[in-house]
């Protein structure tokens, strides 16, 4: 894994180095035999998916590979047909989503999911008011606003934000829960190159400074190459490959199914 740290800032390198020497207790998320069937379709098929503390993992795969389904099984938005989910050593398979969130999980949905009729400040307040009161709450709200680059737009209704600003706002809200693991479902879909760079910086910064582990679903290979420590390729509901960006890019089988594949659209 250490070879994936090339070109990253030192803090991330250090995190990765720590992980390389880590033992099982560093595994923050682990699914075992996770299976989800929708009628006759097996969307997720016997997947053992593990994420280590502080890791920055990308989850890629062609459309319909089961990436979002896997994330939904982890958050509890969907219940598995078979298998278990463990988070920080506890089984969370039977827990409601909000209980999993309180264990240290957080998610940004695929479609930007902010409260459109509320102001940006009210949006940011919601995750934070559960965790802090008084001046600490005010500070954390100010921090979350500035980290999202939205301090000047705090009193604007969220529906008036651009798509990119809504993505930043939702990432800010998800991150302000102080999670140990943050799941991002296509955080840069439909964004400009500049906005993509901002989001990439934001993710690597949160990972390095606050030691938040990430699982990021993304189609954009340049973006994946820029942020990922480690990549998991899902294909037809199964774990197809795992490895560094170089290993994955060099793998002809992955090329075939996903990266400019000839036989599979």
């Amino acid at each position: 894994m250490s070879d994936t740290a090339d070109g990253m800032d030192p803090a991330v390198k250090q995190t990765s180095a720590e992980l390389a020497t880590g033992v099982d207790t560093d595994t923050i998320l682990q699914t075992e035999g996770l299976t989800k069937r929708f009628g006759g379709l097996t969307a997720i098929d016997d997947v053992d998916f593990g994420v280590e503390a502080g890791e920055l993992r990308c989850l890629i795969g062609p459309n319909g590979a089961g990436k979002s389904t896997l994330l939904n099984l982890v958050t509890g938005a969907l219940s598995p047909s078979e298998g278990e989910v463990y988070f920080e050593g506890h089984e969370i398979t039977g827990l409601d989503p909000h209980e999993r969130i309180r264990h240290g999980l957080s998610i940004k949905f695929q479609v930007p999911s902010v409260y459109e009729d509320l102001t940006v400040r009210e949006n940011v307040r919601l995750p934070i008011q559960r965790l802090a009161a008084g001046s600490e709450r005010d500070e954390r709200m100010a921090d979350a606003l500035s980290a999202s680059g939205l301090s000047a737009k705090a009193d604007v209704t969220a529906s008036a934000l651009s798509h990119g600003e809504q993505q930043q706002l939702e990432i800010g809200m998800a991150a302000s829960l102080d999670p140990d693991l943050l799941l991002l479902d296509e955080p840069v879909a439909g964004l400009s190159v500049d906005e993509r760079t901002e989001i990439a910086d934001r993710i690597t910064q949160l990972n390095a400074e606050r030691d938040i582990a990430f699982v990021v679903i993304e189609h954009d290979t340049d973006f994946v190459a820029e942020i990922a420590d480690h990549i998991t390729v899902l294909h037809q509901g199964e774990t197809f490959r795992e490895g560094s960006i170089e290993e994955i890019e060099a793998d002809p089988e992955v090329q075939r199914i996903y990266l400019g594949g000839e036989t599979d659209a």
């Binding site: 958050t75 938005a77 409601d96 989503p97 909000h98 969130i101 309180r102 957080s106 998610i107 949905f109 999911s113 902010v114 409260y115 459109e116 009729d117 509320l118 102001t119 400040r121 009210e122 307040r125 919601l126 995750p127 008011q129 559960r130 009161a133 008084g134 001046s135 709450r137 005010d138 009193d155 809200m173 998800a174 829960l177």
Partner: protein, 374 residues
């Protein structure tokens, strides 16, 4: 919970109280609003001095129905659960009060009746809410299910004419209803205060005032913000770590209790209740009051309830059976022209006119402490 975080340390108790009543979730955050509010409250306080006794007692009836409207404003307008069943809790409380107050004579019996009736209404809402929200019933199915509950209750109560439906001294009375329900009263043995006529008016006025101010504080608290978050996006709210099902159940139970209080005040006005309070028309009225007034406000449903009920009385006196048709058409026009309701529509109109005049001295965004609120 419930305390505004912004610089409470620098404010006295009054400042804190003012802060608790203000926020983005209720209309009327300006000093001008509170002046107007004070004038309106005074007009109500002196209402019996300049109006006929019949107008005063009619107003007690409207004020008790305002509580029913507010119960739906909280459940639907602020938490997004469209319940057609508020009259079920209203009716159950009305009947329960009647049964207790008829059987336990004296003022204590009426107070016991009030407490038991509100408790039963809340319990009923809690049980129904539990099976709905934890059973995965949501959106339009909640609306349908609550309406079915109302109609089942009405059908059942229509069948209770026989002697076997006499509980102690209280006969449910089938579709003829239950007469002889005593007024609320205070005292031990002999009542020293009976809640009829003007006293009932003041009791209902006080109940509406306390409920309105209490709900303002609730809706602008942390919990109120979570309620609004549930209305706006349940999934996002759950994924911020909030127990959405429990929030909905809690609010629904509270709404049941408030509808129950409304039912008790209402039956003490007529000293009578019948299953017609649970008819389809009766069930739709709270939805109309709240939709017409503005469901995302508290003031809107209050104004609309009094206005629509008073208009209904005026029309039925003057045009008889055409009252329902005319009233219905008026409501349709309002809802179609102002989908957010009468009060938000008026607010937008006022600010639009203000913008056109280039009027910059409106203080609608300032709270009583002179501080700008979003």
């Amino acid at each position: 919970m419930g305390v505004e975080s912004d610089d409470t340390a620098t404010r006295g108790p009054l400042g804190r109280l003012a802060a608790a009543l203000h926020g983005p979730n209720t209309m009327g955050n300006s000093r001008r609003f509170w002046y107007l509010f004070g004038v309106v409250v005074l007009l109500f306080v002196f209402f019996p001095l300049y109006m006929l006794p019949s107008a005063v007692t009619n107003m007690s009836q409207y004020l008790s129905l305002v509580l029913l409207a507010l119960s739906l404003a909280v459940v639907w307008g602020y938490t997004g659960v469209l319940s057609f069943g508020q009259v079920a809790f209203f009716g159950v409380a009305g009947y329960t009060y009647g049964i207790v107050a008829i059987n336990v004579t004296g003022p204590l019996g009426t107070i016991a009746g009030l407490v038991v009736a509100v408790g039963i209404a809340a319990l009923f809402a809690a049980i129904l809410g539990y099976f709905m929200f934890y059973g995965g019933v949501s959106d339009v199915y909640v609306t349908i299910l609550t309406l079915v509950v109302v109609l089942v209750l009405k059908t059942f109560l229509d069948q209770t004419a026989g002697d076997e439906w006499t509980i102690g001294e209280a006969a449910l009375g089938g579709f003829n209803g239950m007469p002889g329900i005593p007024d609320l009263a205070l005292g031990i043995g002999e009542p020293f205060l009976v809640f009829n006529d003007t006293v009932l008016f003041y009791a209902a006025l006080l109940a509406v005032l306390v409920t309105y101010l209490g709900l303002r504080a609730l809706l602008n608290s942390d919990y109120g913000r979570v309620m609004v978050a549930v209305r706006e996006d349940e999934d996002r709210t759950e994924m911020l770590g909030y127990d959405v099902k429990r929030v909905k159940l809690t609010v629904f139970t509270f709404g049941g209790a408030l509808a129950g209080l409304s039912g008790v005040l209402y039956v003490t006005y007529f000293n009578y209740i019948s299953p017609s309070e649970l008819s389809l028309t009766a069930a739709s009225l709270p939805v109309i009051w709240v939709a017409v007034g503005g469901r995302k406000t508290l003031l809107g449903p209050i104004v609309a309830t009094i206005f629509i009920e008073r208009l209904g009385l005026f029309l039925s006196v003057n045009v008889g059976d055409w009252a329902f048709v005319i009233n219905g058409l008026l409501l349709l026009v309002i809802v179609l022209l102002l989908p957010e309701g009468l009060l938000p529509g008026l607010r937008d109109l006022v600010s639009w006119i203000g913008d056109r005049r280039g009027d910059s001295d409106t203080d609608d965004t300032t709270d009583p402490t002179g501080e700008v609120i979003e």
